[in-house]
Assembly symmetry: C2
Homo-oligomer: 104 residues x 2
C-alpha cells in the first residue's frame, strides 16, 4: 500500500492548527490590518500574533510595516498562501453542504 | 466585513485534529481493515480507534462488522466523507508544490 506522503502530512498538521486555517481563509479577502483579522475571527490578540508569526515563518504570510503615525502593519498572503485558495474553497463548499449551522 | 462562517469553522476544527485528515486521506483509497490503516499511517491502535469513533459519530466513516472467524471489521467513507475528496486532492497538489520533503 502506498504510504501517506510526508509532505501532505506536514501540510495537514500546519493547516490543522487551531485558527491557522481560519486566518488564511480570512486573508483570502485581501491584505488586512491586525485588528481587522482579530475582530473578524474573535481571536485573542496574543494568539493571533503567535499564529501570524508562524505563518510568516512558514512562508504563507507577508507582514509589511508602514512607518506612519500611528504605524500601520499590513498582513497579506504570499503566493504560497494564495495558492491555498482551492483547498479553502473546496472546504467551504463541503462545509456548506454538510455541516449543520443555522447562522450562515 | 463578512464574518467567517461557523460551518467552515466547524469543518476546519474537525478536520484539523491530529490524524483525522490523514485517516480520511487514507480511506479515499477504499474500504479498509483497521490494521491496514494503522500500519499505513504509523498511528497507535488506541488513537486510531478513538479517531475512527469520532469520524463515525460525525457521519464521515461507516464501520461494518463481518461476523466471520476471526471477525472482520471494515471502515469506509460515507458519502459525506467521500465528498471531502476535492479538499484532499487540492491539499495534495498544494503540498506537492510547496512543502519540502525529500522522501516523496
Amino acid at each position: 500500500m502506498k504510504e501517506v506522503c510526508p509532505r501532505f502530512e506536514s501540510a495537514m498538521s500546519m493547516l490543522g492548527r487551531r485558527w491557522t486555517g481560519l486566518i488564511i481563509y480570512q486573508l483570502l479577502q485581501g491584505p488586512q490590518r491586525f485588528c481587522t483579522i482579530e475582530s473578524a475571527l474573535g481571536i485573542s490578540g496574543r494568539l493571533l500574533s503567535s499564529r501570524l508569526k508562524e505563518l510568516e515563518e512558514n512562508g504563507l504570510v507577508d507582514r509589511t510595516v508602514y512607518p506612519e503615525t500611528p504605524v500601520r502593519i499590513i498582513y497579506e498572503l504570499t503566493d504560497q498562501g494564495e495558492e491555498l485558495e482551492p483547498v479553502m474553497r473546496a472546504l467551504e463548499t463541503w462545509s456548506e453542504r454538510w455541516m449543520t449551522s443555522s447562522s450562515c
